[in-house]
């Protein structure tokens, strides 16, 4: 039996049940834990299924593709779902320890589940309009999570986030409409197959570019990323972490999906644009971070620059580069989530995210320091952590493709990333904690629930180390994913099986 629908249905059900149990925070917490655990379990099963069968396809409602909506999970999808499961569980654990009751009482958990549902839906669907729907589920869940709490910064950030993302949705929707007008179908495999028969690709390029813009905004690529630094540092840390880990990656995933399986008709045109985008994204993101002195803002800008690496993998469009991109996504989701969660702990203990006001954690909490150093150095691409191999593969692909400029940029950005991470390390961990201003009393650190937070962070950090020390199996997954993406006929056949 095809398990493709479960990653959607599990969080949807958890979300619906959480709404049903609105009045009982305890029940919602239990559902949060159970729901994310089941999601992780399901995603592992799905990964197994994909691993053994190649593609897992489910024609929803029994309507053969392209008649209805077909869920189609290839290795990339399975990887992304698995990461969703891991991140989801980590965030749920962290949230159990960190979410204030006033947020719990006002829908934190249902929003979290449904965000995961939207993310997972985006990863498993094989239908372009259905992708739009899951994007919107995800988007509006993120809107609500972003504004939960109602502080000024949140509102200001949210307005930008909402507006710019809705602009993206409008372009996405328009592109879907035009694409349907051209090929009369919404199933990605069907689209891919039909586009393969089109000789006059001019208009196809136009649509491709529209998708590129729409997903570029979601992925926060240059110069479309403004919404991200404006908002990601404003909500609860758990929410930030969830966004940082998963949301932009949905945009990246979509770029990978569309610009391998669907739009591979004119790589010279489309992927050259992507190459420039990648370089500029890496650079502007990392420079943005260099100008920041707030924990989460630094991390937020780094999301952007890291997105550049992933797009670089796609843009180079060699098997190795795609592998690198996929590997990078895997690594980044885990690492970035971890870093945000660490910022949550420091925030919890000091009540601030400002580097200048933080300090002293290396002495007080050596364990936390290690838990920061691992993802931080990993993000900066230091060996032998996951980020090193991710970067190595992309760089190697760049060198093999003789794409000197972007490779040089990628290397430089790696250095600047390290600079940022070290900046945080020096300020938050090494430096002695500055004395509070006169009369300003530091809030008493709240330590209840800290254990949950540590569990989440430790688990994720372990993943980073695991990928670093034992990268081969992860690489193998990425390799399968890349093979499937580079030779989309397999995907197309699996989805359209049984069609004349």
């Amino acid at each position: 039996m095809s398990l493709a629908a479960l990653p959607i249905l599990v969080p949807l059900a958890a979300g619906a049940l959480s709404v049903a149990f609105w009045r009982s925070v305890a029940a919602q917490r239990a559902i949060a834990l159970a729901g994310t655990l089941i999601l992780l379990f399901v995603s592992i099963l799905l990964m197994q299924q994909v691993h053994s069968e190649g593609f897992v396809v489910l024609h929803m409602g029994g309507w053969q593709a392209p008649l209805g909506i077909t869920l189609a999970v290839d290795m990339l999808g399975a990887i992304m779902v698995l990461l969703t499961g891991i991140t989801g569980l980590a965030i749920a654990l962290f949230s159990l320890g960190d979410t204030p009751e006033r947020h719990e009482k006002f829908g934190y958990y249902p929003l979290m589940h449904l965000l995961l549902a939207g993310v997972a839906g985006s990863f498993v669907t094989g239908d372009i309009f259905n992708l739009y729907v899951w994007f919107e589920v995800m988007l509006i869940a993120s809107f609500a999570l972003l504004t939960l709490g109602g502080e000024r910064a949140q509102m200001e950030g949210a307005i930008k986030y909402v507006t710019l993302n809705l602009f993206s949705s409008a372009i996405f929707l328009s592109a879907v409409g035009i694409l349907y007008g051209l090929v009369g179908t919404l199933n990605m495999a069907d689209i891919a197959q039909k586009l393969g028969q089109v000789e006059d690709t001019g208009m196809v390029n136009v649509v491709a570019v529209m998708f590129m813009v729409a997903f570029g905004i979601k992925a926060s690529a240059f110069p479309l990323f403004f919404w991200l630094p404006a908002s990601y540092h404003t909500p609860l840390v758990g929410v930030s972490a969830l966004f940082a880990g998963l949301l932009t990656k949905v945009g990246v995933y979509s770029l990978f999906r569309m610009f391998t399986v669907v739009f591979d008709h004119d790589v010279a045109y489309t992927h050259t644009i992507l190459l420039w985008v990648a370089a500029l994204t890496m650079l502007s993101g990392v420079l943005g971070a260099a100008a920041q002195f707030e924990f989460r803002r630094i991390l937020s800008f780094h999301i952007i620059s890291q997105i550049g690496y992933m797009i670089l993998g796609l843009a180079l469009y060699t098997p190795l580069a795609i592998i690198g991109g996929v590997f990078y996504i895997m690594h980044h989701i885990i690492v970035k989530t971890t870093l945000f969660l660490v910022s949550g702990v420091t925030y919890r203990l000091t009540g601030t995210h400002e580097l200048s006001e933080l300090g002293g954690f290396y002495r007080e909490r050596p364990m936390l320091s290690v838990l920061f150093l691992i993802p931080a150095f990993s993000l900066a691409g230091m060996p032998p952590l996951s980020g090193f191999f991710a970067k190595l593969i992309v760089i190697r692909a760049g060198i093999e493709a003789e794409a000197w400029t972007v490779t040089a940029v990628a290397l430089l950005v790696g250095l600047l990333t390290l600079y940022s991470m070290v900046k945080i390390w020096a300020e938050v961990f090494w430096k002695a904690r500055p004395e509070a201003e006169d009369g300003v009393q530091r809030p008493e650190p709240r330590t209840e629930g800290l254990v949950w937070m540590y569990v989440a962070i430790t688990g994720l950090a372990a993943c980073t180390i695991f990928i670093g020390l034992n990268g081969q199996p992860i690489y193998n997954l990425a390799e399968v994913a890349a093979e499937q993406l580079m030779q989309p006929q397999g995907y197309i056949d699996a989805v359209l099986e049984g069609r004349p």
Partner: protein, 144 residues
Amino acid sequence: MNESNTLILRTAALFLMPLQLLFSVFLLLRGHDEPGGGFIAGLVASGAVVLFLFSYGVREARSLLRVDPRDLLAAGLLFGLASVFPALLVGDPLMTAQWWYLPMPGGGTLKLSTPLIFDIGVYLTVVGAILTMVFALSQAESDA
């Protein structure tokens, strides 16, 4: 002051609201064959309650509804999800429509189907969602 203190509107609302509710059920049930369906019906039903709310205020509207609209919302979502699974019982792919024909007293048959359950879920969700929002807004307005 949350409700409108106009007698005319209040009285008219008492006439119009059942009419609108009834019509919404009508739109829901025959939506599969004629224009209508869960959304449209749900929107009409929400309109009916909104009219009542405008006339009598949010507290009266709440007590009229008896259940919290949030619960309607949850029920709607669960209905929607519930329609996904019956297909498994007969080994079809998820969401495959199942049709049951129940003989009714009086000679007719009642057509029941998962799409109908689904549409009811949609209906309840729409009503629940809109009323949740409208009630919250009106409440805030009257509290302010």
